[in-house]
């Protein structure tokens, strides 16, 4: 459904572009192709990483070390797992609620969610290739900090949730 909309929009835009300027359109498509070729090894690595993390990190495995009593260490562990693993975002929330049902703490799960969505160990090579080393490491580091801030906020407001 989502991809249907996406493809329709792109086909319409490309046609408009083609009718207005064939040369520019050709160039745009060549650039798109170049990006795909250039990023291919990094992209394929991301795919393998997604497959491996989903197969290894079952809900039982994760909830076993980020239980409600795991405290700050649990938050640290959750952020490490979240940074290394890479899951499609529509998998993240159903997984997270399963984790909470299996006994994981909401504070720890919050750190896991935040790092899963915005820290990408698997996409580091690709991000580095596009933005350079320093930007990539700093951005990912700041996202880890954000996960701790978020977990802290959830810990504070937990009685009201």
């Amino acid at each position: 459904m989502q991809s249907m909309i996406l493809y329709s929009v792109i086909v319409i835009l490309t046609s408009i572009s083609w009718l207005n300027d064939r040369k520019k359109t050709k160039k745009a498509i060549i650039k798109a192709k170049n990006m795909l070729i250039k990023l291919a090894p990094e992209l394929l690595a991301i795919l393998l990483f997604v497959g491996l993390s989903l197969a290894v990190l079952t809900p039982d495995v994760i909830s076993s070390f980020i239980g409600e009593q795991s405290g700050l260490i649990g938050v640290v562990l959750a952020s490490i797992v979240g940074s290394f693993a890479m899951l499609p975002s529509f998998v993240v929330f159903p997984l997270a609620s399963t984790l909470v049902e299996n006994g994981a703490g909401l504070v720890q799960v919050s750190a896991l969610i935040a790092t899963l969505v915005s820290v990408g160990f698997a996409s580091l090579p690709m991000e580095r290739r596009i933005f350079g080393k320093e930007f990539t490491y700093l951005r990912n580091l700041s996202a880890v900090v954000m996960a701790f801030v978020f977990a802290f906020v959830i810990w504070v407001v937990l009685p009201w949730l």
Partner: protein, 176 residues
């Protein structure tokens, strides 16, 4: 040597996958089918997004982007980043080529970092998943913490980074 370095991550991961299949064939098989499943998603989403990036690169005028996301864009920059990131679909790595193209076209680093933050914490389709899993209070806190935090990260990045060094490599060109 350079070729080995480029494919290093992929080689290591493939070895890990082979190892997993050897140790635990059942899990290994799951990993393989999950990899193929996400490959399907990736090759469905990525080509149209890259064509879009190519079109932006060819058609969007630098002055237009500078007006809406440039150094003096102020609130409009925040708004455009919110719209672009919030209506997005797909994983974070798809945002990288878009972000660098906007930067190349004159967007301020602050709004680019904010855009990446919005993409990861506040894109609408995912927010809906979050609400159904954890309720709107939790989701609201997550989105607000994320937006404020990444805006200030953007402010810091703007001071810390020089746009020219970030744009050193042009990923739309194959020649290096």
């Amino acid at each position: 040597m350079a070729i080995i370095k480029r494919w290093r991550a992929l080689i290591i991961l493939s070895l890990l996958l082979i190892g997993l299949v050897a140790i635990n064939p059942e899990r290994g098989q799951t990993a393989v089918s999950l990899t193929l499943g996400s490959a399907k998603d990736m090759f469905l989403l990525l080509p149209p997004i890259l064509v879009l990036v190519g079109l932006i690169d060819q058609w969007i005028d630098k002055s237009l982007l500078i007006k809406y996301m440039g150094d003096d864009a102020k609130f409009t920059g925040v708004l455009v980043a919110l719209l672009l990131g919030g209506l997005a679909a797909g994983p974070m790595y798809i945002a990288f080529p878009i972000a660098i193209t906007l930067l190349k076209k004159g967007a301020n680093i602050r709004y680019i970092v904010f855009f990446l933050g919005v993409w990861t914490t506040a894109k609408l389709p995912i927010v809906l998943f979050e609400v159904s899993a954890f309720g709107w209070k939790y989701t609201l806190i997550h989105v607000l913490v994320g937006l404020f935090f990444f805006y200030f990260v953007g402010v810091f990045f703007e001071k810390h980074f020089d746009r020219e060094t970030l744009l050193k490599e042009d990923i739309t060109n194959l020649a290096e």
